[in-house]
Symmetry: C2
Subunit: 207 residues, 2 copies
């Protein structure tokens, strides 16, 4: 049973993807060793062994490379976490676990997280619209599970709830980036979840 989802997927597209990945890899290596700001597009092109213009064909600005990289990681993170969700009893615990994992993840590379989020938000406010990463799908799932169980209000579109939560998530990350010393971050997250839930939780049940 031969799979032929992509009609042809010719050599050309394959090579293009290859180039893209080569660029991404080279760039991330350089960012790692020299930092984002001290790495020039010229250097990246050099390292990836392509023309500088080719680089711009794939990524309009330097930040876009980080964005792509993070998107890849987020996908993995989301898939991995989706399984965990079902095992948890209620919305509150699901939210806390996801936010907590997110927090660990940000901790690993704060610089890149800042750059990536800054880039996305800049676009969000300038015509492009906000393209969230994998966390959006996680949050959607949490809301879906919650609504299914009657734990979350249904008179507000799931979409709106998701957006609200996604923003909440962003604010948590922002806080952390602004002041990493804040070790009570988890407490604060719990408060934010509480704040969100006591609007989202439907009143007529005693959970």
């Amino acid at each position: 049973m031969e799979q032929r989802n992509a009609p042809v997927e010719g050599r050309m597209e394959r090579k293009k993807k290859e180039t893209r990945q080569k660029i991404c890899k080279a760039a991330m290596d350089l960012f790692q060793s020299q930092g984002f700001n001290d790495t020039t597009m010229e250097q990246i092109a050099e390292e990836a062994d392509v023309a500088r213009k080719t680089l711009y064909n794939h990524f309009p600005v330097k930040e876009a490379i980080v964005d792509e990289h993070v998107r890849g990681l987020s996908r993995g993170f989301a898939e991995e976490s989706l399984k965990t969700l079902q095992e948890l009893p209620d919305t509150k615990s699901r939210l806390l676990v996801i936010l907590d994992r997110l927090y660990e993840w940000v901790e690993i590379s704060p610089e890149l997280t800042g750059i990536c989020l800054g880039y996305r938000l800049k676009n969000a406010y300038q015509g492009e619209g906000y393209k969230s990463g994998g966390s959006q799908s996680l949050i959607s799932e949490i809301i879906r599970l919650g609504q299914e169980a009657g734990e979350i209000r249904q008179d507000i579109q799931a979409e709106l709830l998701v957006k609200q939560l996604d923003i909440l998530r962003g604010s948590v990350v922002m806080d952390w980036l602004n002041d990493p010393s804040k070790l009570e971050l988890r407490k604060e997250m719990a408060k934010l979840v509480d704040l969100f839930l006591n609007g989202a939780k439907s009143r007529n049940e005693g959970n």
Copy 2:
């Protein structure tokens, strides 16, 4: 009774402010007539009759000029609106009125709003920390009034509530910028306020 708040406020500081304002004025005029992207720092310097370098002494990037300008307007807006707040009966109506006015305001110059918010958020996510404009003070006041009246929970710091609301406000603006055709924006705002309040409203009272 001679006022002497600022110790000296010498000629130098005065001139500096003057230059700053001259730049700001020139830039905003050009943005108005040619658009933000099609206006170069060179042109602004020319129009303001200062060296390009001087311009950079005052504003690190073009966006910062817009930010300054908007800050000025926001201050006025906030002062004006503060009076209105007391006349309104409860938190819900206060929030709706403020968001509604904000919406009108954004409508006037969407481009500049997008640029300004994008700039602030980019900084927020990269070490600078988020410096909100005048709306923050409005929101603080709304929360304060609400807590004073026992209408808003007090087990969560006002600061957190304010931040959450400020972000909510941002998301409303973002929505509008992404799709100005959405005329049901007011409905959506009402839903967001509802969502926020039913977490912020203290349970033990029947208002």
